[in-house]
Symmetry: C5
Subunit: 354 residues, 5 copies
């Protein structure tokens, strides 16, 4: 299946309200975590069914409801019912292959983006879709599988009484998005290190392996780019949105998000350019080497070709071949050969081939 664009024939013409989970099932059990907090308290519980949500809906504190795993349509449906979510909004949450976007619904704002994460152990990075729905008091985040991406934020909620605890959902949203973008920057910097290290290999020992590596990184960067570029559009739209759920005083944070995603986007472009330049340089070096090789071969052949020809002539068995009877014929031949070689070398010198 194509990696860049995942879509299947069955989806064509479906109603947008139709709930279909189009992604891969990446987790066994769906995990429902609630974190309910205000300046004075933090409450953390795991719930089993959507009905447990009820009590958090109308309290004054900020409720962060995190859903890990999306494959159980009934559960998602129940969550929708409990929160009185529009069917369309639920469909948006399930469409994990969609382009990052932001939609303002009447009572909620929906946004989605791709999370790029590097797995230290498995030495590869993964891309996962994250959807967030929020109003002034509740923020629900949907992830495809259980992850510890947002653990530092939980830690901040638990320990720090400052900003996070005393703010509404908009600051929590900022913290979540900031974490996602920090991961972009981190993964890009890992890529960057590798890419910058190619340079040396390239100048020292250019071969097919390095092309394959450059090619691989080019594709990986393009793949990540498909997540970052629309995320940038989305963040930009978010920073300009006029909504009751986003409070004036947090404008500076959303501007910061724009700045950070711009940095990610700039770096991505720089690395792409670097890779293109490296391919270019590779080509130049290969051409240059081929030139050197050909020069060497040419000089060598061209010097020996006439000498071998002369030896060939005196190797013929003609009955009457006067030079063969000359006393010093052999030495004269050798002398002529030396002279020809020297003339050749002069000629190459003048042609700047030596």
């Amino acid at each position: 299946m194509s990696r860049y664009l995942k879509t299947s024939k069955d989806e064509i013409g479906l109603s947008p309200q139709e709930l279909v989970f189009r992604g891969q099932r990446k987790v066994d059990e769906i995990l429902l975590r609630i974190m309910d907090f205000n300046e004075s308290k933090v409450e953390e519980i795991l719930i089993k069914s959507a009905t447990d949500l009820q009590e958090y809906l109308n309290n004054e504190s900020v409720t962060w409801f995190n859903v890990d795993g999306l494959h159980d349509l009934d559960l998602i449906q129940d969550i929708g019912a409990a929160l009185q979510l529009d069917q369309l909004l639920l469909a948006d949450v399930l469409e994990t292959n969609a382009r990052p976007k932001i939609h303002e619904y009447e009572d909620w704002i929906f946004l989605s983006l791709k999370m790029v994460q590097y797995n230290e152990e498995k030495k590869h990075f993964s891309v996962e879709n994250i959807s967030i729905i929020f109003n002034d008091n509740i923020l629900i985040s949907f992830q495809e599988k259980k992850s510890d991406v947002f653990e530092p934020i939980r830690e901040r909620i638990r320990n720090q009484k400052r900003t996070l605890r005393s703010s509404k959902t908009d600051y929590l949203l900022f913290a979540l998005l900031d974490t996602v973008i920090d991961h972009y920057l981190y993964v890009l910097s890992l890529f960057g290190e590798k890419i910058e290290s190619f340079e040396e290999v390239l100048l020292d020992k250019p071969d097919k392996n390095i092309i394959e590596k450059i090619n691989l990184f080019k594709k990986e960067l393009n793949y990540i780019r498909k997540g970052i570029k629309p995320a940038r559009e989305m963040i930009l739209a978010l920073s300009k949105i006029e909504s009751d759920f986003i409070h004036k005083k947090n404008d500076v944070h959303f501007k910061e998000l724009v700045n950070n995603i711009n940095q990610a986007s700039d770096s991505l472009d720089s690395y792409r350019e670097l890779l293109s330049d490296q391919l270019n340089i590779y080509h130049m070096i290969i051409s240059s080497k081929l030139n050197d090789i050909m020069k060497f071969l040419t000089i060598f052949s061209v010097i020996f070709i006439p000498l071998t020809f002369i030896a060939g002539i005196y190797g013929t068995n003609f009955e009457f071949l006067p030079e063969l009877q000359f006393k010093y014929g052999y030495f004269i031949m050798l002398g002529i050969m030396v002279i020809i070689s020297i003339l050749m070398l002069f000629y190459f010198k003048r042609k700047k081939w030596l």
Copy 2:
């Protein structure tokens, strides 16, 4: 005839109201299908002439009138008369080679775009023009030939009482356009699969065939792009239009259309870039191989050239050639040859050609 731009000398200077069918006749008989529905009923009939349209014009229900085949100018003219369509509008419908566009007329909105469809059996994809005219109660869709593209929507109208049945033409329009864009995404994902599979061949066994394939896909993508890019403009214009026929509450759907066509357009660009990168990589690999081959040839020739020359010298028939009389002359010659070879190999090692 050029595939990208179809126009003939005869069309120059024609009045825009002139009705000429400029496409190819792709169907034998024109098929006129009516689907008339509201929340409580669905009526489906095939009509034979435009006069049968009359009764659906002023009822309250939504009427979807689908025309498959455009070659019968009289019939089109009759439809125009029955619906009191502007001559210009009819001309727009017939101009199947035109660029996707949207025009607001006084009583109607006209829009056209290209449908890209993949034929599973014939293993090729086809491009067809679709025109849609609609006001608040009637939507007329014109296709060049009979197709089952919109069958899923008919099915939804028949079975689901939800949104489609309870909305006006704008939601039907959304459903139709959504289907068209879903087909874009589907065809692109098929292309993508193929294109991504080239990579392996490229790195493993690069030859002329793969270039021809890359070239072919490049052209096909360019061809599809000529449909998608202006369709994107059109969808964007549609999402911003202020018309009585498009109701506020459906804004979210038209935004979704924009998002989807953006995804199609992004993917298309990604694949085009991928193909360019592949060509580039191909070139690098070919250069790299040529380099290897030349290195091998050079090393080989350069080692044997002087050896053969030496053998040639002692193959001459000079009467007086002292070395030939040496007892171990032959073995000395062989020894010198071995030494020369070793020196050569050392030189190549230092030059990093080995």
Copy 3:
């Protein structure tokens, strides 16, 4: 003289009101044609001097005054006097090398663009400047030489009582511009046919001729582009102009013009890209072929070089060369040669050169 930009030292610093005909004289005699029409009548006459214009100035009907040939400055001056045209406007008309543009004067709108025309007989296309001045009742079109480009429009005026005859100059203007753009599309489609046909030659028998052809078409497209791109700007400006001479009800036509010129511009870009891709493909195929040739040469040489060397050794005339006395020496040598060849072939197989 440069084809892309024609300007001479004499023009520098001239007053913009200065009337100089800077083009080439392309016609012997200037032809002045008047077509005066309204719904009820059509009058066509050829006039000899500008004074004959007088009677058409103040009548209610639409007057289309066509001037073929611009080299007679006195006549142009007279026309200017008769119509009370600003000196600047006349200078604009004469500057046939200028960039397509639109200027609103107090009583007139001036616009100019390039006409691209294909001459069926001479098998080449020509570019000509067309200037149009119009107010509500009079439209004057200036062409560099007599041509039948606008004949279909004259025919429509003569025969059809519809739109053209019952409208003001704005519809006539639309008809003229539409014709010009139709010619763009037609010429581009002719180019397209040729360009698309290169593909086959390219893949089958790539040689220097095809590069020269691609190069030629690239230049021709660039040349036409210099006419179409600013014409597009001009048409866009025209479609947005707010003038008493352009009536609301014809907006749809001017939008259509924008759409058509966009199609021309899109196609032009597609063809330019196609040509670039073709050059690229050409390069790939040439590289691929060179690779094949070098592989063949290398394999062949590398197999025979050591064999020839061995033969050379046994061709030496050393007095004491033991192998020569072996009874089956010759056959052993042949055997060794066969073994060497086979080993070589294996090596190449493993290197994937075979």
Copy 4:
């Protein structure tokens, strides 16, 4: 010193009001020319010191004060004092290496741009900075050295009573800028002629010289571009400025300037593209030739390599080599050689190398 960007360490951190002449002294003596005119009179004098300016400051006529040469800081200072110019404005005038720009001061408008001029005799073109300050009655133009660039305008002021004499400084400004842009167009057309002539050489006899020429022109065009592109921005800003010193009725002229500089900018881009295409074509032709050469060498070598090998075998001195005793051994060998050659040629034919 870099040609594209001239700046020195000493300038860093200087006050913007600091008057430093950063250019080269291009003239011995500074020339101060005054042209004072209205519809009824023209007065031309050379003045020696800035105090002579006084009497022209408050009269009603238009005063054009031209300064050739900028190296005498005291004199520039005096002029500033006489005209009550802001220190900043004077600093702007002296900064001849700056980017073309326009600044509105309280009582003056300042603008600067690069003059590109072709010297017919010395066969090279020169770039010079021109600064203009003007209010409604006075226009001061500063040039780096004495030149006759504006002579045609002086001539028009002297002879024609029309527009120039009866207008304010804005029309004079237009005339000056128009002249500068005409020079752009003229120099570009000279470049164009040369560039278009490369084509023929390229297709006929591609060698290193033509690359060096193309490279040279590319650099020269880039250099000129650094003057034209910001000049275009400046002219655009000027055409949109709302100032008391620029009168409504001259709008049409400033629009014309925009049009002309657009044409210059378009042509420049076209020529740059042409040069890039030529380099590309050069590369293709070189590759094509290399291919031909290699094909020839390969065919030739490959035919003779086995033949020479066979001759080598029968040149060996084995005591027992049966074929040598065959009566027609020699002719059989020749026959086999002919057959091998023919088979080779067939093979090449099939491979399409012949």
Copy 5:
């Protein structure tokens, strides 16, 4: 660590108010310099702790507080407390790896950009982050290490009573930014000199070294670009900001900044393009040389190959080889060889290979 993007896993998910110094410690001791001035006095002192700041906070004079070195978090914290700075603002100051940006806080404006400096002695350039916070009376500049970059401005404050001393912080800000941009221009002009000098080497003696140099400069320019491009955005935003701290009368200076940074940005692009063109030209010249070499080798080989073959034939030891007995056999062979050579040369002449 990647040079383009520096970020570490530890930073992910941190609160934006968290104070962490993420840069390298570039200086031993933090230096706190105060310059307090108005038209009548200048006071310069070094302070040891943030509390010494107190007395300068509420006076009327302009206070410029310069901090060299950022690694002592406590000190930075104290400064923040003394000036009542928002925690966020302090965090911004410490984030030395961030993208240049501008943020308006309630009582302060914050901006940061990269300083590019060339070290004359060490022959390399360095990049350093500079942050500036200012309100109407106080401007605090933070540098990563002690530097004399702003010394010329201190000198101007000390000596000149003009503008700097009589203005508010906005003019001081302008002076600081102007200095930074002047350094951009200076470093770019040094780069430019080097880059322009490559040309000659390239045309004269193209080898691998020059590619490595071009590659190095390309990377360095890209690196600087990552500082200049967002600085340009920042300066542009600054020139458009509406703040009480930036006074109308200094608009002209901020416009000048925009102009200067545009010049830097233009030059950077020009140099990047120049380097790309040089790589291109390099490739063309290398291809051209390879062509020459191959031509030479081909001509040489192709002439000698048949001659050596003929000699080989008469070197065979067939018992019956009639030509060997001819009296003038040897001379006839030599004659035939001469004729073959001449025919070859003719053929090459016709093929334009000679």
